[in-house]
């Protein structure tokens, strides 16, 4: 089978720059509307983020490694031969080692999701979250092993039973009780994040339980300093460890709380218009201040929090479907979940808080001069914004996939952008069985595939499939950029 509906681009009347103009009309700011109408051919005026600095992120990786090596070595050097040969000494040593390494890995887990800008710009939130998930089983199982091994070691040394020793440890050692409560919280957060379970609970429930992880780490901090062999009688390591944790807490507070609050107050976004784009798909256009100062690349996303009853407490990630056109900014959303469906009922004037921008599905990831953009479903939003950001030399080939023609939202805008850049647009409609992207169709549609960067965005299964096909056609990993939507 092949691709059908190869789109011939008709001359357009500036669809791209009209979305903001019509929003201006509906918000009844007469002066602004007139100005916007006049200047509609003007290019977007927003700022672009600085280029990512891989060297800096690499240095961060080295520092993370040094921390791991230091932690391990400090635990080993705190041990003497005498302690190791004492009764229960080996289990106790193993318990200390698993405890220290597990705690350090927990610190890395927090840093991976702390939204440090220069790290996000290089690895992308997608990649960082993948690492966060991959690493997750380690700190939890190491810390559980830590508890079990120390109980066993102490029970051997005291010649008492494990239950007696649990009692002794909990109630006569300082800070062990609260650390144990912390471990319980950590296990709970770990269990609820197991894929099969997570899919069965509400996102907000998961999030609340997951936040318990911070509490768990705070509760366990004291017993490490007071009882840890590397810390008892070693004021220097105590200080370094405390500073590392305080700095991590500071980074989390600054980038996950402080910066988003600051940005939300600065840009003062309010819903200006909610516009239907296709079956179940709406664009939300927000109006704000100082948006010319907001540095965002096409293809990036924000976490959006609509401050209205029933929605203010949840933030969801949605991609910008166009570069900002101050004072307007637009997101386009398909109503698949409770939240995204509720967006269609947003009233103009609703305040909007933002966190972001995040994501490396941007022109900064481009390694070759020309690109191939593939989108399925609502993944079209990222491709639409990215197109706007690409240089004319990119000669983009754009491939859009949807179940039916009506689902191909933003089609005219994309056609216009493709035409301006001398590219080609292909639309592929049909069900998953008939309208697939395989080796054959891709090679025939894009003969120069190997000389292009591939950007693919859509549902996870679709993205995985396209990436596999591209790899099998010989496209190297550094030329493949993807962003998957979890539904």
């Amino acid at each position: 089978m092949g691709l059908h509906d190869v789109f011939t681009v008709e001359p357009h009347s500036g669809h791209v720059n009209t979305w903001a103009a019509s929003a201006a009309k509906t918000t009844q700011t007469a002066a602004g509307a007139a100005k916007r109408q006049k200047g509609r051919a003007a290019p977007p005026q927003g700022r672009r983020p600085p280029a990512p600095r891989p060297a800096l992120a690499g240095a961060a990786l080295v520092v993370a490694g040094i921390g791991l090596g230091t932690t391990t070595a400090l635990t080993i050097t705190a041990e003497s031969v005498g302690q190791l040969t004492a009764v229960g000494g080996q289990a106790t040593f193993a318990g200390n080692l698993t405890g220290m390494v597990g705690t350090y890995l927990a610190l890395l887990m927090v840093l991976l999701v702390s939204r440090i800008p220069f790290v996000e710009q290089v690895f992308g939130q997608d990649g960082l979250l993948r690492w966060h998930r991959r690493l997750a089983p380690w700190p939890i199982s190491l810390l559980v092993a830590h508890a079990v091994l120390l109980v066993a070691g102490y029970a051997q040394a005291a010649k008492s039973g494990p239950w007696h020793e649990v009692n002794t440890l909990l109630f006569s050692y300082p800070d062990v009780l609260i650390a144990t409560i912390g471990l319980g919280l950590m296990c709970l957060a770990g269990v609820i994040s197991i894929r099969a379970i997570r899919q069965r609970v509400r996102r907000e429930v998961w999030w609340a339980v997951h936040l318990g992880m911070y509490l768990a780490l705070a509760l366990s901090f004291a017993h490490v300093i007071v009882l840890g062999p590397s810390f008892v009688g070693h004021p220097l390591t105590q200080v370094v460890w405390s500073v590392a944790w305080a700095a991590t807490a500071g980074v989390v507070l600054a980038y996950r709380v402080g910066l988003p609050v600051l940005r939300s107050f600065r840009y003062r976004l309010r819903v200006a218009e909610v516009r239907p784009e296709g079956p179940g798909v709406v664009s939300v256009i927000c109006r704000g201040q100082h948006l010319d100062r907001l540095a965002v690349s096409g293809g990036q996303f924000f976490f959006w929090r609509f401050l209205t009853r029933g929605m203010w407490w949840q933030a969801h990630p949605y991609t910008l479907s166009a570069l900002p056109q101050p004072p307007y900014i637009r997101l386009t959303v398909k109503g698949v979940g409770d939240h995204s469906a509720a967006l269609a009922r947003l009233r103009p004037g609703t305040r909007v808080a933002i966190e972001g921008p995040y994501g490396i599905f941007t022109r900064h990831s481009q390694r070759r001069s020309r690109v191939l953009l593939i989108a399925a479903g609502i993944g079209v939003t990222a491709v639409r914004a990215l197109l706007e950001d690409l240089p004319r030399s990119a000669r983009p080939v754009v491939l859009l996939r949807a179940t039916q023609q009506a689902d191909l939202v933003l089609g005219t805008e994309i056609a216009d952008l493709v035409k301006r850049r001398g590219g080609q647009l292909h639309e592929l409609t049909g069900n998953r069985m008939t309208a697939t992207i395989d080796q054959y169709s891709l090679r025939h549609t894009v003969p120069d595939l190997k000389e292009r960067d591939l950007y693919v965005c859509g549902p996870e299964a679709f993205v995985t499939g396209v990436v596999e096909v591209a790899r099998s056609l010989g496209l190297p990993d550094e030329a493949i950029h993807h962003e998957a939507y979890a539904l």
Partner: protein, 154 residues
Amino acid sequence: MKRAPLLLSAGTAAGFVSVLGFHLRQAPPTVAGASPSGGASAASPSAASPSAAGPIPAGPAAGRSALGPEEQYGYGVLDVKVTESGTRITDVSVPLLQTAEPTSQQISEQAIAMLRAEVLSAQSARIDAISGATYTSAAYIQSLQAALDKLHAG
């Protein structure tokens, strides 16, 4: 980033090696921490034998001394050495103290200092246990009593 695993492992190795190197330079490898247990169970009646280097410093040894047996207790192992001048207990020390982890070491060291004071004032092994260090006290008293018995039998 393709080099990520490489950078991470390089950092880990660097951190590990530097701490280990620093530690070895700070404390040249000695076996002081690991008192050999061979011969420790035998009484050493000779007054001239220097008190073994242990965690609890021994006072000036004069007169006859004896070493009690190693006592395994809750959180480790210890033995007690007692020195008598005539019928007076002039010194008590703990040549061997091994615990599995530093907290027990700290607790035991504090308790041993207090027990030593008790013994010197009571002039016998009939002393009260230190609260919070019941196991340590019991082992201490046991080893001390055995050492005194040896001294008086010999």
